[in-house]
């Protein structure tokens, strides 16, 4: 009601009068040009800010530990001289600013320090273990994404307008249970059924194709159910929209109605949910790798926290945070490509 339209001759085309655009007036765009480009730039900026925060946080992690982290790492029995020596070798005796400069400078040269427990460079350990974690999470995400859409769409279409209520309740109840079971518990169940009981798959390790099956299933099931439920709910919402009534009034065949008219409108919400799932999957590797004794960075973070191996902790935290940032960025870019309206709606 408050945006004045550009002055037009009275008899010419009518002025916009959508309630959606009425209100507080548009916010200025970052660039005069395409809102999509502005959206992408905004997200890149956000990722850069996030990265800076992550850098600072991972650096200060060691300094935030109450007491003396070096003493904690080495245990109470080690001599004060050894503690001092390690402190020097970690560079913790330098002024804070100098330490931070060294830390960031080291990152640019791929130097993440040396692990206290194994004496190996942290970067080498991570480079060795990262591919495993990446493969585990990407495989699981693909299975979750590919499985969720047909299930969500099919159940929504069959349940539309309260039809087949028993089936609908059954399906959503089942999905709800799958979502409620934490992945580490599911992993233990899978091992007890398929490894101990049926002896179909090995219970631990990584490398053989048969060793991939159970971890991927354990990691993918929950996200698959979650995503399927989002698709289901979104689809039901879209099927209630007036433009679907319009499409119905045209008596379009079901295939056209659901695939061409309804499906494109659930893309934005599904992608956003997909982002949450992907990020959750990345974190979920911590638990799954521990259960299945997989040598990835997930099991590394747990063991490094237990042994208080601070250089290693810093490195893994940093890598995980960057993975999360990349996952978010990928989803944002996909959103900009697949659903340009969402980028406009944000501006």
């Amino acid at each position: 009601m408050t945006i004045p339209p550009a002055p037009t001759p009275i008899t010419a085309a009518p002025t916009p009068s959508t309630p959606a655009t009425a209100g507080r007036g548009e916010r200025p765009r970052l660039l005069g040009g395409s809102p999509r480009l502005a959206f992408v730039l905004r997200r890149l900026l956000r990722a850069a800010v996030s990265l800076a925060i992550v850098l600072v946080a991972s650096f200060f992690l060691v300094h935030l530990v109450p007491g003396d982290p070096v003493r904690a790492a080495l245990g109470p029995t080690v001599s004060p001289e050894a503690v001092e020596a390690l402190r020097r070798s970690l560079g913790l005796d330098l002024p804070l600013g100098q330490q931070f400069a060294n830390y960031v400078g080291g990152l640019f040269t791929g130097d993440l320090g040396v692990s206290v427990s194994s004496q190996r460079p942290v970067a080498a350990t991570l480079a060795e273990r990262l591919p495993t974690t990446l493969m585990l999470s990407v495989l699981s995400f693909l299975i979750a994404a590919v499985g969720a859409f047909p299930i969500g769409v099919a159940t929504a279409v069959s349940a539309r307008g309260g039809r087949r209520r028993a089936v609908d309740l059954g399906v959503s109840g089942f999905l709800g249970i799958l979502i409620a079971i934490p992945n580490f518990l599911l992993a233990v169940l899978l091992i007890s059924i398929f490894s101990v009981g049926l002896q179909a798959f090995p219970p631990a390790g990584w490398g053989q194709p048969s060793q991939v099956v159970l971890p991927v299933i354990a990691l993918a099931i929950g996200p698959l159910a979650y995503l399927a439920r989002i698709v289901h709910v979104e689809m039901l919402r879209v099927l209630d929209e007036p433009y679907i009534t319009t499409a119905r009034s045209k008596r379009l065949p079901g295939r056209v109605l659901y695939l061409r008219h309804a499906l494109p409108n659930i893309v934005a919400a599904s992608l956003t949910a997909g982002g949450v799932v992907l990020v959750g999957l990345v974190a979920g590797t911590v638990l799954i790798e521990t259960v299945f004794v997989i040598p990835g960075i997930g099991s590394t973070i747990v063991s490094s926290i237990t042994t208080k191996d601070y250089p290693l902790i810093q490195g893994v935290v940093l890598v995980y945070a960057v993975l999360v940032l990349v996952a978010n960025l990928v989803i944002d870019l996909a959103l900009a490509v697949l659903d340009p309206r969402s980028t406009i709606a944000e501006a």
């Binding site: 408050t2 004045p4 339209p5 002025t15 548009e26 200025p28 005069g32």
Partner: protein, 262 residues
């Protein structure tokens, strides 16, 4: 004496190149004891005029005077004077706190008078106001969900009246209502005009409704006042082409619509 004067007010949203002028150097005077109709279409800036008068939106230029006191700045005197301008909103469903009994909502209006009153006084006043807008005062303890749209709109009018406003601003107060309910609310406004000597700025997109309640009328388009004057004069002899277009667009009961030149 209470007179509300908009003096060359402008409202700008946004900054730089994306800035938009919602109100563009608009002049308007609501004279004491009269109702001034402000008519315009969506996006004309008429609702912004209401929002700046009560301080919900800041002005970018010009001033608004209530009996000569500028009510647009942050000075305490200005703030105090601004409370004497009250507003009734378009949507009666969002204008009342869903979790507050309607009696308490109306009592909130007493805040604006600046007087401290005892609980008994407040209850008596709420009783009186509900009576005035023809709602059973025994229902003061009920929550808004128990009332229909028209009843809620009368309750928000009672809340505004509780503030003893010098000027009442009615922003599209009947456009969310059914026509039969609209009549009830308009009749109530007329009654209040006569009994309370109300000064009112009545904003609507509906020319016929504005004509029915207003003594004077201003026509707004794209942030500018394009025409103003006595209601009968403006509507009988419109000067501005836009006013003429508006008049031509209003369907008249029982007469075929003239659409050839649309």
């Amino acid at each position: 004496m209470s007179e509300l004067e908009f003096r060359a007010v402008s409202v700008r949203y946004g900054h730089g190149r994306a800035a938009q002028l919602a109100v563009d150097a608009a002049d308007l005077v609501v004279r004491d004891g009269t109702t001034h109709g402000l008519v315009g279409e969506s996006g004309s800036g008429k609702s912004t005029m209401a929002r700046i008068a009560v301080g919900l939106t800041p002005v970018s230029g010009g001033s608004i005077l209530l009996d000569g006191v500028d009510i647009t700045d942050r000075a305490p005197a200005s703030r105090l004077a601004r409370r004497r301008v009250q507003m009734v909103f378009q949507d009666p469903f969002s204008a009342l706190d869903p979790r507050m009994p309607i009696g308490s909502s109306i009592a909130e209006g007493l805040l604006a008078t600046g007087r401290r009153s005892s609980r008994l006084d407040r209850e008596a006043r709420v009783h009186e106001l509900l009576d005035r807008v023809h709602i059973d005062p025994r229902r003061a303890g009920e929550s808004p969900s128990a009332f229909s749209g028209g009843q809620r709109q009368r309750i928000t009018i009672a809340r505004a009246l509780a503030a003893e406003p010098a000027v009442l601003i009615a922003d599209e107060i009947t456009s969310a209502l059914d026509v039969s309910v609209q009549g009830v609310v308009l009749n109530l406004l007329r009654e209040l005009q006569q009994e309370l000597h109300l000064t009112m700025l009545f904003i609507s997109h509906n020319l016929a409704v504005v004509r029915y309640v207003s003594d004077e009328v201003s026509v707004m388009r794209a942030g500018r006042i394009v025409e103003h004057g006595g209601t009968e004069t403006v509507l009988a002899h419109p000067e501005d082409p836009y006013t003429r277009e508006l008049l031509r667009s209003v369907p008249v009961m029982g007469e075929p619509l003239e659409l050839e030149d649309a």
